[in-house]
Symmetry: C2
Subunit: 144 residues, 2 copies
DNA sequence: GCTTGACCCTGTAGCGGCTACAGGGTGTTT
DNA sequence: AAACACCCTGTAGCCGCTACAGGGTCAAGC
């Protein structure tokens, strides 16, 4: 399998495959006489594993950690649980902050009904508010 | 006001202030005899404006656009509304995808009750599944 | 046999939004 | 006079790719 075929099979860009090799996530494959990379089925499996993790927004550093378990089936997998838990906590924290952000932006948006001169624009006015030490509609009572 | 004082007042790193100047968001201030930057109140206002926008996760490119309205109070502010709407749409899209992600990770996490050998770890097993063309618990029936 | 086009190679730079140095100068305090 | 906090410029690093530039290789069609 050449790199283009591998990439297509895994729905990944060719450059991404080379990138994963460069950072050591994907082992360097054999080369044919002309210098082209030649991949085996195990490479596709590993690449699919990586992409599956990435679809779950797991960092490449954590993917590397998970791959160590793939490579060492006899190891205890407690760290795998911890890693998924941490990832879940990260996602939930980000969810919380995005929910807050949504509220803030909605409130901010409601400050401008009909477009106006910038000088009287409710949105710009609110964005400027904390600069003057006032409270703003989007960030509750405090100016941060 | 020296850069350290400005930074402290706006709860920003000194490097960030210099960075904003370098990319043209913050106008270059006057310099004192020793070459130190000397800031006026308007700089603090502008910096607070930028940070307020950043707290709302508005990109620096969009902040630059907003600042143009601050600088030109006679302009029509319709673009401001559009910009906030776009930002809100971005946040909501990200919220959707994070909610999906949370479900997927929760399902994945449930695959491992008690830590085990990696060879029998339900989580690793599920992460490997699509590599073998099987369905995985986290991504529904299809293999992505 | 010569061109076209699709593919492959290496190496490097860019994205955003900072952050962190290195290697220097300045200014106040002890 | 030394210690320390602050300031300066310039550059490189973070993440996870993506996009070149500048080449080589190979099969198909004329």
């Amino acid at each position: 399998m050449k790199i283009g075929e591998l990439a297509k099979a895994a729905h990944v860009e060719v450059e991404t495959v080379r990138y994963y090799e460069r950072i050591g996530l994907l082992p360097a494959p054999a080369r044919s006489d002309n210098g082209y990379r030649v991949y085996a089925g195990t490479h596709l499996e590993r690449l699919a594993f990586i992409r599956h993790c990435r679809a779950l927004d797991i960092t490449l550093a954590d993917v590397a950690r998970l791959l160590r378990f793939v490579d060492d089936p006899a190891a205890q997998c407690a760290e795998v649980n911890t890693l998924i838990d941490t990832q879940l906590a990260r996602v939930r924290a980000r969810l919380d902050s995005l929910r807050t952000l949504e509220r803030q932006l909605t409130t901010l948006r409601s400050q401008c009904g009909t477009p106006n001169r910038a000088a009287h624009c409710g949105i710009l006015h609110e964005l400027e508010a904390p600069a003057l030490g006032d409270a703003c509609v989007c960030h509750g009572g405090h100016t941060d």
